[in-house]
Amino acid sequence: MDFGVLEVANSKAPAAPGWAYVPDTGVNASVTALQPRKRARNQTGTPHDTTAKQDAKILRELAALDRENHKDVSIPVPIRHRDNAGRISHGKVTPGVRKILQSQKTFANHLVDYEALSALKPAATAAASSQPSSIPSTPTVRAAPATAAAPHLTSKGTRSHKKKDPNAVVASTPLRRVSTVSHATNTPQAIKADPDIPMLDAPITLCQGSSPDPAPHPGDKDPLLISRIPGMPSQEEIEKLLAAPPLSYTETTGSWTAEDRRKPVRQFCEVCGYWGRVRCMRYGA
């Protein structure tokens, strides 16, 4: 019976309850989810096609797996008597220490702060590179947090581990470009101002092993049995490697190799753990 309702095919699925005709452009995920037995047949596209919604769900689940407790809890530090009754007093609490002790920041907060500050760094280096080295020759100057923002690095990537100066590591090597870390020889300029500081980057020597060579064997010369051993890196190379500055937290995060990306992501049934897409056929929705 016609109630005078005009059906309009619009291009977007309605957000509100109700229904509408939509153009059929392929397998609809919501439909296939309702018909799990047809799933294998209906599956198209690459295994990594995830929608924004699925991505958000994965992120949410990962965040849940990273939690310390199931619910948010706060366990305050018990209040203690700060008198000398049987307790070792460590002396007066300095303002800096008090600030650290009272900080409620999480690691995520620190990381975000650090990255935000390091994002400012390239501009700072560019400015600094036009000037001669701005590192103070006497490193006795205490870093006050207020001065931390000042561009304080040389163009040579010399790192100033200033307190509150998270710019430090940004001059570090990009992933896998070890050979560019060549400033090892430049770095100690400022440091040498203080004569009695030892160089931990002491000379490196290549030495022979202490064990005797094994007895020769007639098969040694057999071209089929010879294996080729890559030559050792030179001393400078090793020194360079050892002198490389630490990477930042994000740079050390292991990557997802291209080969692994090509492989389909394994899916397991949530109920029984067997192979499945969302649920295995047995427990299909």
């Binding site: 203080d194 490196i204 020597t205 060579d213 007895a215």
Partner: protein
């Protein structure tokens, strides 16, 4: 440089041994002809590196400071536990205490600090606060409370006066400089340690005798050369797993890699699976952690194990499903009245759990709460090898080892691959080493020998390295910073020094 580090000489000896039949060591199957070994050995150049330690006496020529403290407090400040203890040249065999690095509160609202947790009898619904977040010391408020309780209080188990002992403190690699600065400041300004060495935890492992940790020790016991010349250290802990190549105890910073899978993630994943499939365990992570430690193993053949634990499709049940070829295990949950600790036993299909007994009318008290674990046992540690199973966009540990090596010159690969050591709590998981070795061998160049070893107690290995270092007063003094130097040169200088820059 001693023989054995590269592996060539090592195998020349090993070929004279009888190959072990243990399937665990199948990965170590020896080449069949001696010819190939010797030729192989000869073809390679005798190469090795030694990095000279800083010339003795270059330091300590300095103005008369106070003499270095006679004892050193070695603190491996992990996210889950602190490994701490004293070491000095006089202490014959230093031993660490393992202290939970947390504040916990049970359902009666009683708060436990650090080692007090051992007094807790009821771990139901215990919640935790941990000062170490993602492996890095973040909350000094809580950490100070725990340290005070463990070290500085009058009745502390490891009582000491911070102004009279030196300190070796570990941190996770690639810490944020602001956090490192906070740490230095607290150590000197709040506690007032006279001398202090902060270092990435993996580096201390180089001070252990690593050659004795490999499954087949060298034929002639070598005098350990400390620190180890070359070592690829995999530290798999509570927060994450890091890969650190070390030369002469110094990290190759550009090659350090981190996999964001650690004990916490695995425990939480097991919690989720158990909560979906059996009981709601979301408020009992402590218990789930014990289940994980008792039951989980790394599968040598994931697909086959998965098939074995499959129930089969409807109407076509697999026969061996119930016991799944010995994979199925029952974990008897503690009830915190008669039993405060759970335990594992083989799955018994006839032993009914509490639920079944209730329905058949037997008394509920007699019954036990049983969790039956099947593919959960190996699907959890599988995350280390296939993080994408939970949507984590990282490659597995073996791939990351290769990624780490790819940042290094090819000439160092044989040395690193032949000297891989696994430490941290996850190294205790059964089957971990075998699987890691098999997969790395598959990825590594065919000529390279892959050896993976594990210390007897992988949890305290880092601490033991630190204790050994503390016995060598001169080396430690060269690495440490004194309070006087801190006051003279300031925190920036200290940070640079620990960063290996001065």
């Amino acid at each position: 440089m001693d023989e054995g580090w590269w592996g060539g000489n090592f195998w020349a000896h090993a070929s004279q041994l009888t190959p072990r039949r243990d399937p665990k060591f199948l990965g170590f199957q020896l080449p069949t002809t001696t010819t190939s070994i010797t030729a192989f050995y000869h073809a390679k150049q005798r190469i090795s590196i030694a990095i000279m330690a800083p010339t003795p006496g270059s330091r300590r020529t300095k103005s008369a400071g106070p003499p270095p403290p006679s004892h050193t407090l070695v603190v491996d400040n992990g996210a889950y536990t602190i490994k701490a203890g004293f070491s000095s040249p006089e202490i014959e065999s230093p031993t660490p205490s393992i202290i939970p690095n947390c504040m916990a509160r049970d359902r009666e609202k009683k708060v436990y600090i650090g080692s007090q947790l051992s007094k807790c009898r009821d771990f139901g619904e215990v919640v935790f606060r941990r000062p170490v977040d993602k492996g890095y010391l973040v909350s000094w408020e809580a950490e100070k409370e725990i340290w005070e309780h463990e070290f500085f209080d009058q009745k502390a188990p490891l009582h000491c006066d911070p102004r009279e002992v030196g300190l070796i403190l570990t941190e996770a690699p690639n810490a944020l400089p602001p956090l490192q600065a906070n740490c230095d400041q607290i150590i000197f300004e709040e506690f007032g340690f006279p001398s202090y060495y902060r270092c990435p935890a993996p580096t201390l492992n180089a001070y252990n005798d690593i050659q004795s940790m490999f499954p087949i020790p060298p034929r002639v016991p070598l005098t350990p050369q400390l620190p180890a010349e070359i070592l690829l250290l995999i530290d798999s802990g509570y927060s994450h797993t890091t890969i650190t190549p070390l030369l002469q105890g110094r990290p190759l910073q550009s090659a350090i890699r981190r996999l964001d899978v650690g004990g916490k993630l695995m425990t939480n994943y097991l919690t989720r699976l158990l909560s979906i499939r059996q009981y709601d365990m979301r408020n009992d992570t402590y218990l789930v952690n014990e289940i994980k430690e008792a039951c989980c193993y790394v599968s040598g053949d994931f697909k086959a194990d998965m098939e074995r634990t499959w129930k089969g499709p409807k109407g076509d049940r697999r026969l061996g499903y119930a016991t799944a070829g010995g994979i199925a295990k029952d974990y008897i949950l503690p009830d915190f009245h008669t039993r405060s600790k759970g335990y594992v036993r083989d799955h018994d299909p006839n032993a009914a759990g509490k639920l079944k007994n209730l329905t058949t009318g037997k008394s509920a008290e007699a019954a036990e709460d049983i969790l039956t674990l099947r593919n959960e046992r190996f699907a959890i540690p599988e995350l280390l090898f296939s993080p994408s199973d939970i949507g984590l966009r990282q490659s597995g540990l073996p791939q990351l080892v290769m990624e780490s090596l790819s940042a290094l010159p090819f000439g160092l690969w044989p040395g690193f691959l032949a000297n891989i050591i696994v430490v941290g709590g996850n190294a205790n998981i059964e089957g971990y080493l075998y699987r890691l070795e098999t997969e790395i061998r598959a990825l590594a160049p065919a000529e390279c020998i892959v050896r993976i070893g594990r210390p007897v107690d992988p949890i305290v290995s880092t601490w033991r390295g630190g204790a050994t270092l503390a016995k060598d007063v001169d080396t430690l003094a060269k690495l440490s910073v004194t309070k006087q130097e801190y006051e003279e040169h300031g925190p920036v200088w200290v940070a640079r020094r620990f960063g290996g820059k001065e």
